[in-house]
Each structure stands twice: as structure tokens, then as C-alpha cells.
């Protein structure tokens, strides 16, 4: 995985294997959150990111449809299939062949406002969108990437149907960048290497995938997207999350990218020692990333343990050959059609399948006894690896569609299991899988089960996996290689003149790390500076121009606390237009204006309101958006009678403390009294002064 020498792209793709080949098989299973960075180091954990970011352009990348609209309206449908084709370098791509096996009917839902005949592959591409190229160049410059001088549009094959052409048009813009990666909380202070950035068109949104029919919406299809790939240098799940945030910040710094659900999605590459790169696709949030990669790391370790056990038992790939042509049960001793044996089994799903004329097949996996029940992910066993392949490739989606002998008598009952065992001459050391479906699908299923079992001897199959909300993953497709790229013959190369780059470079926005450093110089703690530099209200903060030092600090804290608070209370208006779904250039809700908040900051700076009161005053400004700001601020202003008022309040509160908390220690009474006193003095008298006076008054009492 770490091909540090060739990070700018040699001819061979970056190796997919973890540089460490010694799997820590004895490493104890630990839950997420129980691991230290040293633990992850012991695992050989490493991860990299591919961040996909939609750009806020007016039009799509290769046609003149509007970009960024979202709709569920359907005006028409188109049905297509996909076939694998030859790549530029003369070979079929592995993924392509797998997708072909699935024989899917692909349905596209069309809405006239968002899609034209280009997206439906009925019209050749128009000229590439210059606005998108400009934004991508800007992001490249922010990432310090080496720019190419001529774009070549390539076709990256996707036979899953998510793009009607069967390929994604994509162009490499820059390679080999380095950005500062400084996250105080995690003790990170180093460089992050960016492998490359490409500009590509977004794919369809999947609506459903049942059996041999998959349905897609096309509104998103063709929207310009940057794909930023980091080197696989994240050494813990938390680092990975911070890296994802940093890359997202860079794109957002341009102010020209889309925000909101689905506007930024990441693919994550993970491996552990002895393992190989696994790609988890399309994770829409940063929040779930750490748990996701933690679970994946242990899945890999568990697969390596299974491999070790299979080797110990002497299982070899030759024991699991592919069935010759014809139905697998007619040509392979490892596969049998067992419908007739199971006519009287007790398992309803199998009986239903037989009744519906489906084919029931048993597959013998020599030497696999017990391994199908081995845990791979939380609540998931190795049998899921087989079932996932069958679901995706043989398109079996009925539930359940498979049982196996490691479940004990489960399902079929001991009698039928024994008959199946006899039919396949299976010994106690063998595992059995019974799978059912339409005849051709049952054949595909049996073959895939053998393929996946054989891959267990290799350890970790190269796959892309989909993320589930609980942090586990499922098989999506075989990991594609560079063979799936070939030049787009429909588009000419696009030269990038130096003048264009110079023009963009001259007006680059402040980078997230420059911003972070600037906030530190203003007196914010490193942690607060990192947080604020990535906060949606950072521009608002800058517009308020707080004075360096205490006020800068307090304003950062107050905004970080009060803006999400106000949002939760429904005081901030959502700016997600239901028809657009995503919002450009802003947070998905409307932030308060600088005009409303600036008088507060000025009043604090002028000493008219105590810094203590900034948070409370801000809260009130946000909580009562209709109320007059001047009036609200007046409530917090000092009035000149502070000394008298302080005397009054201290005397009163001290007296009440004596009555209500008789005999309690002074600290308890002080805490109680501070709360009461500050309620009427906040903003006018510094808390420290109140505290000092109260302490004196209470001490007097005690004495």
C-alpha cells in the first residue's frame, strides 16, 4: 500500500498490499474506543481517502443541464444493460466481468428539468464545463498539486449501471501535493501527502436493487465532482477522520462547492499487516468514519486468522476448483442439486423455493467445518462473506437464500443435513452451504461460493465494500484495477494555459491551515483554532473582527456553543431548498448576519458589556431573532450603578444562602450564591469580582 517512491504514479498502480506482511494473529479483539494509537500500530493499520466533492457550477460537466438540482419526479424511464468491453491496454477488467455475470436490468428514472439525452448516452458529450475546470484548478492549487498542462478525458468503467454510458468521464488535473496537517487534539503535526485530484462526472442515485433489476435516479448524474486521493498515511481511525475534515475544508475554502447531504462523499482505503487494500465506498459523513475503519481492520485480521486455520488444516486452492461449463451440479463433485432430498425438510424458505420451481443447490467446502461461523465483524460471521457474493453476483435477494452446516441443525434439521452430506460425500471436516434460487442464478451462486471460499486461502479478496450505518460493511464489487481506464474518444484534450493558472493563483482564498494559524495568532487555543478554521461560521467570525485575546477567544467559544444550540431550537432557518437538496456556498442553515451580532462584539470591546456576558447575550440575540438587538443588548449593558448594585446583591444573596443552606460548607454555599448573583449581575460586573465579594461575605457569616 505504501509505495512512497511512486506516489506520483508509476506505470504499475500503487501496490495493494500492506507493507507489513506479518499479521498480528494473536492481537486481542477490541471494541472501537478501546484502542490506543499503539494498538493500531501493532495491527499495522493504515488508511487513505478518496474524497468526492460536488462543485457548485451552473451546469453539469459535459452537458448543459443544470447542476445541483434534486428531484423525485419521474417523467420517463429508460432500460439498459451493460456489457464488458476491451480496455485500452488490451484486457478485460476484473470488475467488468463480475458485473456482467450479474445480468442486471438497469432502469433509469428521468425528470425533464435535470436530464437530457447526453446523460442517457444518446448524445455525445458537449465541451467540458470551464467553470468546473476552473474550480478544480483552484482546489489543485490549494492542495499544492503539480498540475498537468493538458487534460485528457478518460473513461473509467462502471458496469453496475450507476452511469448509463457504462463509464465515468474523468480527467486527471494534478498529482503529488503536500499540505500541512496539524490537529492539536490528536497530536498531529506533519504533512499530508495528496496523491492526485481528478475532475469527473457524478453518478446516479440508486433507488432500489432487487433481484436482477436495479433502479437509478438521474438528477445527480453528470454533476461535476472532484476526487481527491490522499496517500494511505492515516495511522489511526481518528487521524483518518481528521484528514477527511481537512480535505473537505480545502474544497470549501473556495466557496464554490456544494454543501449538504450527499454533496461530499468519501471512499476509504484500509489495510492491516498481512492484508491488502479494501475500499469502502461512498461514506457520506465524517462522523461514522473511525468506527467503520476500525471494524474493517478487525474483519481483515479475522479473515487472516481464517486463512491461517485453513492452511493449518492443509486446505489448498486445488481442492476448490471452478466447475467446468454447464450447470455446476452436473459438472462439479463439490456441488449437488438437492431439491429432491429436501422436499420434506422442516425449513419453510426451502420448501417455498421448491414449490416455486427454484433450484436448491448444496456446495461442499472441504476443510471449512466451523469456519463459516467464525466472527468477522460485530454480529457477523464468515458465512456473510459468501452470502454477500451470492446476493450481489447471483442477484439472490429473497430472505433468506442460503443456510450452512456451521449453524448446526438450523434450518434443514439434522436428517436432511445428513442426506445432503451423504449426497456430496462430505466428511465431518467439511462445511456445506445450501443455496436456492432460479436455476441460472443458483448455478452462479454455487460458482461464486467456491470462488469466495478459494479466496479465503489468499486471505483478503480485493473488494470494494459498502458502508452500513452500524459501522459494518458488505461486499459491493471486486476492486477494479487501472485496466478499466481508457481514453474518451468523444472529447478532445483540453490545454490548460499558464495564464489561466496564474489568474487563479492570484486570487486564491486563505487555506484552512493559514486560517488555523491566524486564529492562533489572535489568541485562540490550538484546539479552538483548528475547530473554528473548519466551522461553517468562520466567515461570520472574521466578519465580526473581534479584538485579539480574550474577546477573540470568548467569541469563538460562544459561536461554537450557541449556533448549534440555536439550530436545535429551530431558530435558524434551513436553506436547503427542497427542490435543490443541496446548498452552495453556505451551511445548510442560515447563519445570523454580522450586522446583528457586531454591536455586541463592539460593546464588549468598549467595556460596555462584560466579556462574561458575551455568551448569554449572543444566546439571546439568536434565540429571539425577531427582537430588537439594541433592546437585548441594553439588558446586558453596565449602567453606572454597578457598585451599589453589587453591594445590594451580595448582601441579599449571602443572606439567602445562610437561610437556605444552613451549616453547609462555604464552597457549597459559594457555588449556590454565585449562580444567584450572576443571574442579575452578568455583563455588568466581572464574575471574579462577584466571587471575591461573595466569598468575603460568606466567610464573614461563618466567622
Amino acid at each position: 500500500m505504501a509505495e512512497t517512491e511512486i506516489h506520483r504514479g508509476g506505470v504499475r498502480p500503487p501496490a495493494d498490499f500492506n507493507p507489513r506482511t506479518d499479521p498480528p494473529l494473536d492481537f486481542p479483539d477490541r471494541e472501537f474506543g478501546e484502542m490506543t494509537p499503539d494498538d493500531y500500530a501493532a495491527l499495522g493499520f493504515m488508511a487513505g481517502l478518496e474524497v468526492h466533492q460536488q462543485l457548485a457550477t451552473r451546469g453539469k460537466l459535459f452537458c448543459r443541464c443544470p447542476a445541483g438540482l434534486r428531484t423525485t419526479r419521474v417523467d420517463a424511464e429508460v432500460l439498459r444493460h451493460m456489457r464488458p468491453t476491451l480496455s485500452e491496454l488490451g484486457e478485460y477488467d476484473g470488475t467488468a466481468l463480475m458485473e456482467f455475470k450479474t445480468r442486471k436490468e438497469i432502469v433509469y428514472l428521468l425528470e425533464r428539468g435535470t436530464v437530457c439525452t447526453y446523460e442517457m448516452d444518446d448524445t455525445p458529450p458537449f465541451e467540458i464545463d470551464r467553470e468546473a475546470v476552473g474550480i478544480a484548478l483552484e482546489i489543485c492549487r490549494l492542495l499544492n498539486l503539480d498540475l498537468v498542462t493538458e487534460l485528457h478525458v478518460m473513461r473509467k468503467q462502471y458496469l453496475d449501471g450507476s452511469i448509463p454510458t457504462g463509464f465515468q468521464r474523468t480527467a486527471m488535473m494534478g498529482v503529488g501535493g503536500v499540505i500541512p496537517f496539524r490537529v492539536p487534539d490528536l497530536g498531529i503535526d506533519r504533512d499530508l501527502r495528496i496523491r492526485q485530484l481528478s475532475l469527473e462526472e457524478d453518478s446516479c442515485r440508486e433507488v432500489s436493487d432487487v433481484g436482477h433489476r436495479i433502479v437509478f435516479r438521474t438528477d445527480r448524474l453528470g454533476v461535476p465532482l472532484t476526487e481527491t486521493v490522499t496517500e494511505p498515511e492515516f495511522l489511526t481511525p481518528a487521524e483518518l477522520q481528521a484528514g477527511a475534515r481537512l480535505v473537505a475544508r480545502v474544497a470549501r475554502a473556495t466557496g464554490k462547492v456544494l454543501r449538504g447531504p450527499g454533496a461530499a462523499r468519501q471512499d476509504v482505503n484500509v489495510s492491516v499487516a498481512g492484508g491488502r487494500r479494501i475500499e469502502i465506498k461512498g461514506v457520506p459523513h465524517h462522523r461514522g468514519l473511525p468506527r467503520l475503519v476500525h471494524v474493517e481492520a478487525f474483519r481483515q485480521l479475522n479473515l487472516l486468522r481464517i486463512r491461517e486455520e485453513l492452511r493449518r488444516r492443509g486446505v489448498t486452492p486445488e481442492m476448490l476448483p471452478d466447475p467446468p461449463q454447464g450447470f455446476a451440479w452436473e459438472t462439479s463433485p463439490l456441488v449437488a442439486e438437492v431439491g429432491s432430498l429436501l422436499r420434506r425438510c422442516a425449513f419453510r424458505p426451502v420448501l417455498d423455493a421448491i414449490e416455486e420451481g427454484e433450484t436448491v443447490v448444496a456446495v461442499r467446502l472441504p476443510g471449512f467445518a466451523g469456519l463459516l461461523a467464525r466472527r468477522t465483524q460485530p454480529g457477523i460471521t464468515f458465512s456473510r462473506e459468501l452470502a454477500d457474493r451470492v446476493r450481489v453476483i447471483a442477484c439472490l435477494t429473497g430472505q433468506p437464500f442460503l443456510v450452512h452446516s456451521d449453524l448446526g441443525d438450523y434450518g434443514l434439521g439434522s436428517g436432511p443435513w445428513n442426506q445432503v452430506r451423504k449426497a456430496l460425500r462430505a466428511g465431518a471436516e467439511d462445511a456445506l452451504v445450501v443455496v436456492w434460487g432460479p436455476r441460472r442464478d443458483a448455478d452462479t451462486a454455487a460458482r461464486e461460493i467456491l470462488i469466495r471460499a478459494r479466496e479465503a486461502l489468499d486471505g483478503i479478496p480485493a473488494e470494494t465494500r459498502q458502508a452500513f450505518p452500524d459501522g459494518t460493511t458488505g461486499f459491493e464489487r471486486i476492486l477494479p484495477g487501472p485496466d478499466r481506464m481508457y481514453p474518451d474518444t468523444d472529447t478532445p484534450p483540453v490545454a490548460i494555459p499558464d495564464e489561466w493558472v496564474a489568474e487563479i493563483s492570484a486570487r486564491l482564498p486563505e487555506t484552512p491551515w493559514e486560517r488555523q494559524a491566524r486564529y492562533e495568532r489572535m489568541g485562540l487555543s490550538p484546539r479552538a483554532a483548528w475547530e473554528l478554521a473548519g466551522a461553517p461560521w468562520a466567515d461570520l467570525y472574521d466578519e465580526l473582527k473581534p479584538r485579539e485575546g480574550e474577546i477573540a477567544r470568548r467569541l469563538a467559544d460562544a459561536l461554537a456553543r450557541r449556533i448549534p444550540w440555536a439550530y436545535r431550537r429551530g431558530r435558524l432557518e434551513s436553506v436547503i431548498d427542497p427542490s435543490r437538496g443541496v446548498a452552495a456556498r453556505s451551511y445548510p442553515y442560515r447563519l445570523p448576519s454580522a450586522q446583528r451580532l457586531a454591536p455586541l462584539v463592539r460593546a464588549v470591546e468598549a467595556g460596555e458589556i462584560e466579556p462574561d456576558a458575551l455568551d448569554a447575550a449572543l444566546a439571546e440575540l439568536l434565540d429571539r431573532p425577531e427582537a430588537d438587538a439594541v433592546e437585548i443588548l441594553d439588558g446586558f449593558r453596565k449602567r453606572g450603578d454597578e457598585d451599589a448594585r453589587l453591594d445590594e446583591v451580595v448582601a441579599e444573596v449571602a443572606a439567602r444562602a445562610r437561610e437556605e443552606l444552613p451549616g453547609r460548607p462555604v464552597e457549597v454555599r459559594l457555588r449556590w450564591a454565585m449562580g444567584r448573583a450572576m443571574a442579575s449581575l452578568r455583563g455588568r460586573v466581572p464574575a471574579a469580582t462577584v466571587r471575591e465579594r461573595l466569598l468575603a461575605a460568606l466567610a464573614e457569616e461563618t466567622a
Binding site: 511512486i6 506520483r8 504514479g9 508509476g10 506505470v11 504499475r12 498502480p13 419521474v74 417523467d75 420517463a76 424511464e77 429508460v78 432500460l79 439498459r80 444493460h81 451493460m82 456489457r83 464488458p84 468491453t85 476491451l86 485500452e88 491496454l89 488490451g90 478485460y92 425533464r112 439525452t117 442517457m120 448516452d121 444518446d122 448524445t123 455525445p124 498539486l145 503539480d146 498540475l147 498537468v148 498542462t149 493538458e150 487534460l151 485528457h152 478518460m154 473509467k156 458496469l159 448509463p164 454510458t165 457504462g166 474523468t170 480527467a171 486527471m172 498529482v175 492526485q196 481528478s198 487501472p482 485496466d483 481506464m485 481508457y486 481514453p487 474518444t489 478532445p492 484534450p493 490545454a495
Partner: protein, 475 residues
């Protein structure tokens, strides 16, 4: 893939392809650095370091950029004046090869002959032009469309390697002769792979040159080249081959997508079909009638009656003739008479007018039409509207034009009339009366006696009934 990691040593008798597509100023940069196409290199530039494989440059692209294929599979261009040095680290020559397997033979299956003319039935990429070039042999076809082996025993013969736009009379004649030979040799059906742009011209030519064939003659192509996963090529080829092998209709037909969805193909009569959209899959439409049949997954559903049925005999009339001095004049308002005069002067023997409305041209042309008639040039009237019949009695203009000797051709399509005129003049070079008679007598459905109510269906989007139709068509 293949690669010996070495490649030609610099300076050791370079091959002309070593710099394929590269011109100055880049050629010198490559030579100075001792690298050629297919070298794996590390290029230092003012923009940074790029490592990859040098690919050929398209000759239609500018001469300033070096094309590198990076390890990620992406191609990128590096401008010559940014390149500081190129260091060779390896060599790797790519070969284009469609996986070829021997086409299985099953004596129980019909024999089909596939003629190749160029086009994009199967294809591969050409670096030089960045374009798609055809690939063609039973083995290659079997490698990319294995379903064909379930349909028939396929034999192929590549007749030409021309793109559709370069097809013409020269090719029509060869094709007609070859079809005659194949029929007499006992093939059960004939498929012709053809580029789509002029497929309907060739279909019309074959309709006249190959008469009363006993077996189906099916023309097929693709609107999306077969190098892409979404190509319509495989479905078209499968359905065309099935039609040729098993279909009951012994006519010259075009077999292309019905709707834009991968559903069924339509069989169009060779004289009534026209390419109607520059790029969509459903581009071929029968004009002024309904298609002959639908074909899908080994099932053919006739839509029309009265087609010529398949026969067991091996008889066929082949008339491979064509007079090239014929043309189409597409009328426009204010067309000047010298356009017609120029054609007459240049020795054209026949002119097909594509007139407006029911078959009209402006008065300014009358003297030129008279001069054409007097010079013995045959002038025919067809319609720009494509749909409908020439009717020159309704308006005075029409009657006047008839008076000038212009011969109406009912609902024959302009392109079909052009092809038929060339053929008819070839049949009767010295007998204008016979030519006129032949032109006005339908031979292969080029003139139909009647237009059915559903022969003209150009639907309009947006209207409620079409919205409803499109919304539920595949649901």
C-alpha cells in the same frame, strides 16, 4: 498485455512508429531524451515530476503535448516547454486484441453469412486518431458477443474497410454480387454490418439490386460504438443474426433499436427506412408506414402483412448497375435557376428534387427546368416533408411544374429516389421512357399505395397523453 521491459535501445535503428503522432516541437524533445512511444519514463517538468508510459499522440491533436499514461490509468498531457528532462525506466508495448476464440460449429444450426463493410459492429481503439476502428472475424465477434453461437453457424467476410460516409455505388455493386453468391452458396440468411450514417442509402440500393431474394438480408450497425459497455452493438447484432438465421421475411431490411431502451429491435423495409437523429439509439424509423416487425430474444413479431416470405429455392435476381451522374437538389426559397443549369451543364442525367409541401419549387426555376428537360435530363419530384405524397394537382404551381416535365414520385423518400434513379439509369441507359416507368413502378415498397393512420407518428413531448405514455412505458 505484453512487455519485455527493454524495447529498442536509443539510436539503434528507430522504427517509424516510435514517435507515432508526435511532431515538432515535441519530436525533438523525445529524441534528445532518447525516448520513444511505449517507454516508461520519469518526466521532470517545471510543474513537477510525472511518471508513466508514453502513448502515441493523436494526429488531430496539437503538436505541443506529450501524452503519458500514469500508474493510476489516467492519461495526462505535458506541454513541451515545461519538460526539463525525461528519463527512461522501462518499456511496455500495448497490444489491442479482442479476445478471440474459435466460433463453434453446430451442423443443426442455420448458416449465416456476415459481410463487413467497415462500421462499428465490433471495434477497437486507434491511438493515432483517438478514434474507434473496426475489428472483425468470427472469432473476434464470438469473443465479444458469444450469444451468436447459440443462433447460427456464422461465417464472415470483410468486403471493405470504409466508414459509412465513404460507402457508394462502387461498394453497392460488390455487395450485391456477393449477396447473390452467398444466396446461391446456400446460406440461410445474410447480415451486413454497416456504419449507420448511410445505412439507409445502402439498404435502398440493395433493395433494387437484389430482387426476390429467398432469404433475409439484414443490415445492422450501432449508434454507440462497441468499445463501450452501454453499446447497442451486441443487441443489434444478436437480433439481426437471429432474423437472418430464423426470420420468415426474405427482404432487404434494417435491424436497429426500437426504443432507446435495451428492449427490442425493429425490422425496417430497406426502402422506407431513414436515420432520423444524429446520435440516439432509436434513430432508424420507418417513414410513411409502420415497421415490418419487432424482434427480441429469439422472437420475431410481424407488425405488417404482405412481406415476401422466406423460400427454399436459391433463385435471386441481381442487378448490379448504377449511373453515378444523378443528384438530389434540395429546394429552398429563392433557389436560383443556375443551380439546376450547372447540373445540366456538368452532364448530370437525372435530378431528384426535394420540393416543399406537396412538391413545389419557385417560379424562378421554371426556365432551368425547361432547359433540363430539353437537354434530356430526367427530373423527379420528392418531398422535404418526408411524410406524405407528392400531389401536384392541388395548386397551380404543381400543375405548372408538371407541365415542365417534372415527374412526381408519390411517397418515395428523396434519398431512395436518388438511389433508385441511379440504378434505373444503369438498367436502361438509353431509354428514358423505361427509366420513367421504372421510377414510377414500386419494386420494393419504395412507393406505397396508401399511408396508414399510424404511418406518421412524430410525438410531441410535454403534452399530457405523451407524459402519461412515457411515464409508464417500462413500469
Amino acid at each position: 498485455m505484453s512487455g519485455d521491459g527493454k524495447g529498442p535501445a536509443p539510436g539503434s535503428g528507430a522504427h517509424p512508429d516510435d514517435y507515432k503522432g508526435y511532431r515538432e516541437p515535441l519530436l525533438s524533445v523525445l529524441k534528445e531524451n532518447g525516448v520513444t512511444v511505449w517507454c516508461i519514463v520519469r518526466a521532470k517538468t517545471t510543474k513537477g515530476v510525472f511518471e508513466g508510459l508514453i502513448l502515441p499522440r493523436s494526429e488531430t491533436a496539437d503538436p505541443y503535448h506529450l501524452v503519458l499514461k500514469l500508474g493510476s490509468g489516467y492519461n495526462v498531457g505535458l506541454r513541451y516547454d515545461t519538460i526539463q528532462s525525461i528519463e527512461k525506466t522501462g518499456y511496455f508495448r500495448a497490444e489491442y486484441r479482442i479476445p478471440e476464440q474459435e466460433f463453434p460449429v453446430d451442423p443443426a444450426k442455420p448458416r449465416v453469412k456476415l459481410f463487413g463493410t467497415g462500421g462499428t459492429i465490433a471495434s477497437r481503439l486507434d491511438y493515432r486518431t483517438g478514434a474507434v476502428i473496426p475489428a472483425f472475424s468470427p472469432g473476434e465477434l464470438y469473443g465479444s458477443v458469444p450469444e451468436l453461437a447459440d443462433i447460427c453457424n456464422l461465417e464472415t467476410e470483410k468486403l471493405f474497410g470504409v466508414f459509412s460516409e465513404n460507402m457508394g455505388p462502387e461498394q453497392y455493386l460488390v455487395l450485391a454480387e456477393k449477396i447473390g453468391e452467398a444466396i446461391r452458396a446456400g446460406y440461410d440468411g445474410i447480415v451486413i454490418g454497416h456504419g449507420t450514417d448511410t445505412m439507409h442509402h445502402t439498404a435502398a440500393a440493395l433493395s433494387f439490386m437484389v430482387q426476390r431474394p429467398p432469404v433475409p438480408i439484414v443490415m445492422v450497425g450501432s449508434q454507440r460504438s462497441s468499445d463501450r459497455p452501454s453499446s447497442d452493438a451486441a443487441q443489434n447484432l444478436i437480433n439481426a443474426t437471429w432474423t437472418a438465421a430464423h426470420g420468415p421475411i426474405a427482404e432487404v431490411m434494417v435491424c436497429m433499436f426500437g426504443p432507446t431502451s435495451d428492449r427490442y429491435n425493429l425490422l425496417h423495409r430497406g426502402t422506407r427506412v431513414r436515420k432520423m437523429h444524429s446520435s440516439t439509439r432509436s434513430t432508424f424509423r420507418t417513414i410513411g408506414d409502420i415497421p415490418l416487425a419487432m424482434v427480441e430474444n429469439g422472437k420475431l413479431t410481424p407488425l405488417q402483412e404482405g412481406w415476401a416470405p422466406r423460400r427454399d429455392d436459391r433463385e435471386v435476381e441481381i442487378h448490379p448497375v448504377f449511373e453515378e451522374r444523378v443528384t438530389i437538389a434540395y429546394y429552398y426559397p429563392n433557389m436560383h435557376p443556375d443551380v439546376i443549369d450547372a447540373l445540366v451543364e456538368k452532364g448530370y442525367r437525372g435530378i431528384v428534387l426535394a420540393g416543399t409541401g406537396l412538391g413545389h419549387v419557385n417560379r424562378r426555376l421554371y426556365p432551368a427546368l425547361e432547359r433540363a428537360r430539353d437537354a434530356g435530363v430526367l427530373v423527379f419530384m420528392t418531398l422535404q416533408t418526408l411524410w406524405g405524397f407528392v400531389q401536384m394537382y392541388v395548386y397551380e404551381t404543381g400543375r405548372e411544374i408538371l407541365g415542365l416535365g417534372v415527374i412526381p414520385l408519390a411517397n418515395m423518400l428523396p434519398e431512395v429516389a436518388y438511389i433508385k434513379l441511379g440504378w434505373a439509369l444503369g438498367m436502361h441507359p438509353d431509354d428514358p421512357e423505361k427509366v420513367v416507368e421504372l421510377m414510377q413502378t414500386p419494386i420494393a415498397g419504395e412507393i406505397t399505395p396508401r399511408e396508414p393512420h399510424d404511418g406518421y407518428l412524430v410525438f410531441q413531448g410535454g403534452v399530457p397523453e405523451m407524459k402519461e405514455f412515457l411515464g409508464r412505458i417500462w413500469s
